[in-house]
Subunit: 126 residues, 4 copies
């Protein structure tokens, strides 16, 4: 059902006063997962950027089900699909290890800009 | 139309390889705005946390309209409303200065937990 | 005694499990202060970077005297001096408001690279 | 020569406008390495914190030899030694993979506070 997955562990500096991973940090996890997915397809975010090709996030929806805590290990899973001609939808879910509890449900909509204009993301998905 | 606003400026360490503010950083801006709003109402996030009262984010929706860049100044505006008995909805929008361009539209749903259980957020909104 | 100063307030997302500002965040404060100092001299870090001129940090020494906490306001003060032909030394100290307690003492050594090679920082200090 | 090592890879959100890992992020790497070292000794930073035992950083010296970039993998190596009765010195160096280039040399001085007062760190090193 997913196209890609990668593992992480919580780092203490990612936790806040409440002793749990700060909400913004999940976006870091989701971004790093997308970039590793890109790499697994033979692309490189930093190189694309130098060529004037910038995948940019258009919309993010994150549902926080349960908080990750210091010491937790977890898996970020990703499914990519096209919407219309220009949009990419990434379904991105975070599961705690080893109990496979769903912690976060994410949906990230991205478009690919080439020299500032949206282009069909055909190099990523057909 | 908004209940609260506060000003920021982009700090260079918040910008990424693309030369624009990283997507996750906007959640920091939104969180800091909510906490300053709390403070303006006479509450304190860190003190609430020590009393076992934890406002937690349940869902975030962020639309990225235009990117903030190094040197930009901007205003975060917030409107709080109740949904049902337990949920708080924060409409949070970011406008660039001085042209008042809408950069980001956010909607953050929160619930207040007391010793881990949802309670009515009557100390915040009636 | 100092050449420049700028004010901040602690943001809750900068605090960690111990309820105090995480050690790494002070480097953000120090960097932002240096960049604002550059701006006050008529220079712009992002623009310099596009021209191939990159001030880079060579060495950092930070003494943590007392921790900043949620809600604290503070002032970052900076003094710049040359060392030899190529090095810039920034003495950077952080004082809490309003009691002027010294929280952090920093010393940052930087060099200016132009297309990857060190150059005399004469546009900054003579 | 080192007591502990752990591997990382650069995440793109850790890179800044210059396209290299931001200086402050190395402190995150060094902290996470120390906490994993603690864990390897059977201790847990978050649990210690709840018991009122807080290892705190007193001084940091970081020499930036070469910058880490997007996609780099690297190893953080650590050596712990006592200084006097109360201080712990962590020598922490970062080597790029696979060429073993030394990127960063760090020295972190810490003390252990119990309910706010320095105590001998005998549970860590004798």
């Amino acid at each position: 059902m997913y196209d890609f997955e990668t593992e992480f562990e919580v780092r203490d500096y990612e936790c806040d006063i409440q002793g749990i991973v700060n909400n913004s940090v999940y976006q870091n996890y989701l971004e790093h997962t997308r970039h590793k997915f890109l790499t697994s397809l033979g692309h490189d975010f930093a190189k694309l950027s130098k060529q004037g090709i910038n995948p940019v996030v258009y919309k993010v929806i994150i549902e926080y089900k349960k908080p990750l805590k210091s010491g937790d290990k977890f898996i970020c899973r990703l499914k990519m699909q096209k919407e219309g001609n220009l949009k990419l939808i990434f379904k991105q879910d975070i599961y705690r290890k080893p109990d496979e509890m769903l912690m976060v449900k994410g949906e990230v909509t991205a478009v690919v800009l080439k020299n500032g204009r949206p282009v069909k993301p055909d190099f990523l998905v057909s």
